[in-house]
Amino acid sequence: MSQAVFPTRRDESWRYSDLDALASIWPLPAPHIIAVAPGDHFEQSILIDGSDGKAAVRHIQMTLGKGATAALYALNIGGKFGRVELDITLMEGADFTLGCAQIGGADQVLELITTVTHAEAGGTSQQMVRNIVGGTATSSYLGKVAVARDAQKTDSVQDVKAMLLDRSATANAKPELEIFADDVKCAHGCAIGELDAQALYYLQSRGLPPAEAKKLLLQAFVAGVFDGAQDEERLKSLALAKLGELV
């Protein structure tokens, strides 16, 4: 279902969005709907690079049938406003993996909005998100994990980190848990920081110019997000190229 009404900042999921940029591509197309059949495996890479400099929004609604597995790998590097929105519903014993890197500079606004609903028992989900922002850019992660009353033995992980390259950049991270079952594991971790000055100096003392040293540390920071993706090499090299522009 396509969003009929233009959002305002009062809508939680649009709270940090660049609504001016959004207006330039409004109305949005209907969400992409994916149904993964019971026992099947699905994988997709998502690239938001808005090379026209404007806005790019992707909205995916996916349902995983009993015992199905799915992996999404997302690289969000812009235009002015880049948004990935995922609504994922897991049936019994399904498994969902998300690896996402958001890398932005200048005045870019990048965001990842996820709702992972464990509707039935025994589902597992892992989200690994790395954000790197410089300039006055903003990255946001709004990630909700909802566990239904019958979804016992759910095991869910949200692992979110953000790196600020400049003190003028902003990173928002909001994990949100809504749990109605009583026998579940839902781990969530968020960390926001800066590049380690000691490590930077150590690398430079061996002959790496500052930009190269930063790039190496940032490469390590996002390492792992795309591990195992069919598109791993392409995503990594695109991420690296974007890092090269930022440092």
């Binding site: 150590y202 430079q204 061996r206 500052p210 190496l216």
Partner: protein
Amino acid sequence: MLTINNLHANVADKPILKGLDLSINAGEIHAIMGPNGAGKSTLSYVLGGRPGYDVTDGSVDFGGADLLDMEPFERAAAGLFLGFQYPVEIPGVSNVQFLRESLNAQRKSRGEAPLSGGEFLKLAREKAALLKMDMDMLKRPVNVGFSGGEKKRNEMVQMGILNPRMAILDETDSGLDIDALRIVGEGINSIMRRPDKAVLLITHYQRLLDYVQPDFVHVLADGRIVKSGGPELAHQLEEYGYAEVVA
């Protein structure tokens, strides 16, 4: 090769070095000893260009160039190597990748062709063998999970690979067991004891000097060199202590 003239330096606005003079020629090995807080590590960091160490007076000439005017990576490319007292752990960045990029960055700034992956690995294998370090450790992230002694040996492997003209080794002997001390000592000799190279060893103890025979020994106290002599000075210090010898 290195001429330090009336060097004054502050750390957090506190004067640490107070008029230090030292001259080191090619082919020489110098040792600096001194009580805790004398300014030994400050000297090494000032020479290495670490941020936070402010030179307030004096000059340092390195092979005809103004060392204090160079960025840390330029000092490395000019042939200066700083062996850290506390080598930094860098998760996610492999030793091999870091060193190859560092070496090639140095070569590039000297107008030399980069080493290929194969050529670099051959060099790395040779230097690792010299320091009796397993190649597998070189493939692991920089210093992560290394013991104190392994970190120091890794510093020496880096020195071997980068092949500097001048090495400043800040307490490279601390944290080493007896066997590792001998291996590191022999490593320093085989890499650096050459007519066109020089070494400045900063140490608390005579032990390392048993393996790496210095040509000159200096006592640093309260930010100045207060006494200089030959290798016998180190023995006197060991026997009588700083207070006695310096008085």
